[in-house]
């Protein structure tokens, strides 16, 4: 587990990505349609959305991060929204999440975008222990309308 390798998601990883993507949805109590998964996977491979995978020493996919860029009225550089981060429960606490976040950040800077931001549920204490070490929580909360 000491050697985690991070690079873009590969087309051949679709079945294992499905497992992690489903587990992530289960964590948030949602079930997205297969059409959404197909669309997102396709967009990742068309570089409309970006996907990174973390692999253990055997090459097995154990974590995923999805991010995208969008315009920002407060900056000439684009914002980088890290929309999804998920690490297989079996490998939690071994630095995989941190490495994924750092890799997203490196990609954002290489692309000339600002540092990534992300949202997490306020009750997600385990994730927040990690986030509080590598990110600022400036006190903004989200409101939503619609689905």
């Amino acid at each position: 587990m000491s050697s985690i390798e991070i690079s873009p998601l590969r087309v051949s990883e679709r079945p294992r990505w499905n497992e992690l993507w489903t587990a992530y949805q289960r964590f948030y109590g949602v079930e997205l349609s297969p059409q959404v998964a197909d669309s997102t996977w396709q967009r990742i491979h068309a570089a409309r959305i970006h996907g990174l995978g973390a692999r253990d020493s055997t090459g097995r996919l154990v974590g995923i991060a999805h991010f995208l860029y969008h315009e920002d009225t407060w900056s000439t550089a684009r914002a980088c929204y890290l929309q999804d981060l998920y690490v297989d429960e079996a490998v939690r606490g071994r630095g995989c999440g941190r490495k994924l976040i750092e890799a997203v950040s490196a990609a954002a800077h290489a692309a000339g975008a600002n540092s990534p931001y992300w949202l997490t549920h306020e009750t997600n204490a385990a994730a927040r222990r990690l986030y509080d070490r590598l990110a600022r929580n400036p006190g903004f909360i989200q409101y939503t309308y619609g689905q």
Binding site: V30, L32, Q35, V36, S39, T40, R43, R48, I49, H66, L68, H70, E71, D72, T73, W74, S75, T76, Y81, Q83, D84, I101, V104, S105, H109, S115, P116, Y117, W118, L119, T120, H121, E122, T123, Y131, L134, A135, R136, N137, P138, G139, F140, I141, Q142, Y143, T144, Y145, G146, Q147
Partner: protein
């Protein structure tokens, strides 16, 4: 009668007063004022049909009372776009007259027309006044924002 409409080129001076007021609320004033190049770029995006960045203003009797800026972007959990209401501001003198609500509802309408099922925004957890309105027109999702250091 308050009219909500897309911003126009000739609104620039009045828009800038509102935009400065909004930015000052978030501490971007004086030495920390937004750079002129950012203001110019954001303004120009409102008029560039290739850019998913939009601005509405609230007007009454020829005076601009408020602004709303919103952006469409992709989402991993939707097929259609998300609508991010990034900025919302009502001039101090026009508060409490439904300007903010009218702007938000106009953004909802435009989001629907663009195929976006969800509109979202962020506000500071201490912004109690704004939250009185937001609690009526939207839901707190329970999600909070983190930003990576560097």
């Amino acid at each position: 009668m308050i009219e909500i409409r897309p911003v126009r080129q000739e609104d620039f001076p009045a828009w800038q007063v509102l935009w400065d007021g909004y930015n000052a609320f978030y501490g971007r004033a004086g030495d920390t004022r937004l750079a002129t190049e950012i203001i110019r770029m954001t303004w120009s995006r409102f008029f560039d049909s290739y850019e998913p960045v939009h601005a509405l203003v609230a007007e009454r009797a020829g005076t601009l009372l408020g602004l709303a800026h919103f952006i469409f972007h992709r989402s991993t959990i939707h097929i259609g776009p998300l609508c991010y209401l990034q900025d919302l501001f009502t001039a101090q003198a026009a508060r409490g007259q439904g300007v903010g609500r009218a702007l938000i509802e106009a953004v909802y309408e435009r989001a629907r027309a663009a195929g976006a099922n969800r509109v979202y925004w962020m506000t500071h957890e201490t912004n109690a006044l704004a939250m009185k309105l937001y609690d009526k027109v939207a839901e707190k999702s329970g999600f909070i924002v983190y930003r990576h250091f560097l």
